[in-house]
């Protein structure tokens, strides 16, 4: 039995929903060092779109759109990026925040006192959030695709 998914309305709406979901996910990831959230919740938000695609397009349709190999490569790259950022501080100590308060990239010196939240600050923290976001998005998507492909009445 081939699984071609749901009606064209559902497919179209899920395509439309890609934009707000990804934007919100990226927002949560990018503001991880300022507001509640961060790489893990943001990546999970972005992975919901994969769940939506799996349901809308079914097993056969979604296999053309979502590539498991790409996702597992992205997973490794996210983790390696995180480890590389941790290693980059090793001239001081492992995990040291070598970018914070340097005045350079992501190193904005924050004046003392209440402030509205400076996005480009925090040193390696936002970068690590991005790495975690990539990893969590890819890993959760891969897990969902795997579980979906082994479920149901297909012979596979």
């Amino acid at each position: 039995m081939s699984d071609e998914g749901m009606s064209v309305i559902v497919k179209t709406v899920s395509c439309v929903l890609v934009v707000p979901t990804v934007v919100f996910g990226l927002y949560v990831i990018m503001h991880g060092h300022l507001t509640p959230g961060g790489g893990f919740p943001g990546g999970a938000v972005m992975a919901t779109i994969v769940a939506l695609f799996l349901v809308a397009y079914g097993k056969d349709g979604s296999r053309k759109i979502l590539k498991k190999d790409c996702l597992s490569a992205a997973e490794s790259i996210g983790l390696l990026l995180f480890a590389a950022l941790a290693f980059a501080g090793i001239s001081v100590t492992f995990f040291s925040n070598f970018l914070a308060n340097t005045g350079n990239w992501f190193g904005t010196v924050i004046p003392f006192g209440p402030n509205p939240g400076y996005l480009v600050s925090g040193g390696v923290l936002p970068l690590m959030n991005i790495a975690v976001g990539i990893e969590v998005f890819a890993a959760l998507s891969a897990i969902m695709i795997l579980m979906f492909s082994y479920s149901g009445d297909d012979s596979k």
């Binding site: 490794s76 983790l79 390696l80 480890a83 090793i90 001081v92 100590t93 492992f94």
Partner: protein, 513 residues
């Protein structure tokens, strides 16, 4: 990168290098299996170099503290308060870090050929390296929450590795292991929560300093939670049921990592007991450990007798071996509370036996894996007369069987003798149980030896044993014989500094905060 740099950052590198290797292994796997194997081998060898340098430095210059993310590695309390993740390498933790990484390296060299005809090897190596990182982390961590995280990482990676064959039985074993370790992790987290609620601290040394001033019933509750969690993970008597299953179903190169992980959870137990909980420990926990140890020996040996599967049988023998360690260290705990003089000897016996147990168990499991590799059989009733076909495996099995049952020329004798001598002062009956257990173990393994290796020549197909697998067995056998012939050297060189570090609570606390 100079040697000083490596030594200075060694505690962090020992955990980080296997992690990086684990994350990159699937990417290298896309380039080809040889490149991936080379990458894993190089990274593990580099990690081994780092931990060896760390061990040598710790023995020469005393404990090394590493605060992650601090402006100076030794700055653990920037505002007079320990807030960072702190790694501590003293003689005891360095000894076990070296043991864990060495076993991981040997397990990898063994896997090179052993796993070559199997699928999903990329993921297998990722999990193997994650487990290595978790083991190094368990040894080196200086605070409770990181301890919990590394224990969880080790549980998840081990469960994945046990399920590697994906047959019904291996999935069942992995499920059992997952449930046991999840329950253990919850106990551990609860214990850590109690401590955090009372002291508002997670750093082990800081909690130890506070507890020495004021201790209460809450500490006893936390200790019982932590001890039950770690005994659960070590596979001692009442919850030994996951052990034979997991050891039998996992590939043998994973099994030796599981043996090491089980012993590392005992290491953590001893670390927190002797470093933190001495004020509230009393003699109860020591007696509990001794009694559980004696029960583990009895149950392990008697359950091993009727087994037909070689690896399941060795799995039950491993339960008995854990019993000896618990007996030795439990005696030392009782002895500390009574202030009579044999704590150091009992603890030396226990710690030395942990190292010996890793070596002996690894060798015998790898020989069992070798038998499986060359004959594709592991039921002892189907094997006989293998000695005529594979002399190498016969010699290795003989060495391992003598070492496990504590016969004089091998290392098991030296450490078991120390344990018998010290537990005798506690109660002569316990020493008798220990010696009887060893004798039964000898009888058991001689029976196996006779039925597998002696008799009419084996008729089936015998594949040649790959050189890499033989090399790993030779390395283990070398250390077994050296530690057996010169136990005094091993004791003076590595065990006594470790025991002093474990008992030197004030030095540990002073070193960290």
């Amino acid at each position: 990168m100079s040697v000083e740099f490596l030594i200075e950052h060694s505690p962090a590198l020992a955990i980080a290098l296997p992690l990086v290797a684990a994350f990159a292994a699937p990417l290298f796997g896309k380039l080809g299996s040889f490149l991936r194997n080379l990458w894993v081998l190089l990274m593990l060898a580099f990690t081994e170099l780092v931990v060896l340098l760390m061990g040598q430095d710790v023995l020469a210059n005393g404990a090394r503290v590493y605060a992650l993310g601090a402006s100076v590695p030794s700055l653990t309390s920037p505002f007079g308060f320990p807030i960072r993740i702190v790694l501590v390498a003293d003689a005891m933790s360095a000894l076990f870090a070296v043991t864990a990484v060495s076993i991981a390296l040997l397990a990898f060299i063994y896997s090179w050929k052993y796993m070559s005809d199997k699928g999903g090897v990329d993921k297998f190596y990722t999990l193997l390296l994650l487990l290595t990182a978790a083991m190094a982390g368990l040894c080196l961590t200086g605070d409770f929450f990181t301890l919990f995280v590394f224990l969880e990482v080790s549980s998840i990676a081990s469960a994945g590795l046990v399920a590697y064959n994906r047959s019904g039985k291996s999935l069942e074993a992995a499920f059992k292991y997952t449930v046991v370790s999840a329950v253990g992790a919850l106990f551990l987290l609860f214990g850590v929560g109690i401590l955090y609620g009372k002291y508002h601290l997670l750093n082990m040394a800081a909690i130890a300093a506070e507890m020495a001033i004021s201790s209460s019933f809450l500490d006893v509750a936390a200790l019982s939670m932590l001890a039950s969690a770690l005994l659960l993970k070590s596979g001692a008597f009442p919850v030994h049921m996951w052990k034979p299953d997991a050891y039998q179903q996992a590939p043998v190169n994973v099994t030796i990592m599981l043996v090491t992980t089980a012993l590392l959870s005992l290491y953590v137990l001893f670390r927190i007991c002797f470093t933190i909980f001495v004020p509230v420990m009393g003699s109860t926990l020591g007696w509990l450990a001794v009694v559980l140890g004696a029960a583990s020996i009895f149950v392990g040996v008697t359950m091993a007798l009727p087994q037909k599967n070689l690896r399941r049988l060795i799995g039950y023998a491993a339960v008995a071996e854990v019993g000896y360690i618990l007996m030795g260290v439990g005696t030392s705990m009782v002895s500390i509370s009574r202030m009579d003089g044999f704590a150091v000897q009992a603890l030396s016996g226990g710690v030395f036996h942990m190292i010996n147990d890793v070596l002996d168990m690894s060798l015998i499991f790898l020989v069992a894996g070798g038998i499986l590799y060359v004959t594709k059989k592991q039921d002892i009733t189907e094997l006989s007369g293998l000695g005529h076909r594979s002399g190498f495996l016969t010699v290795m099995f003989a060495i391992a069987l003598l070492a496990i049952s504590g016969m004089p020329p091998m290392n098991g004798f030296a450490s078991k003798l120390l344990i018998y001598e010290s537990v005798y002062f506690l109660n002569p009956m316990l020493a008798i149980i220990g010696i009887a257990g060893s004798m039964m173990m000898l009888a058991l393994f001689v029976k196996i030896f006779a039925s597998v290796f002696l008799g009419a020549p084996y008729r089936g197909i015998v594949a040649p044993l790959p050189l890499s697998m033989a090399f790993v067995m030779c390395v283990l056998a070398f250390f077994i014989i050296v530690f057996g012939l010169f136990p005094n050297v091993a004791l003076d060189l590595i065990v006594t500094p470790a025991v002093q570090a474990l008992l030197g609570k004030a030095a540990y606390i002073g070193g960290v905060i």
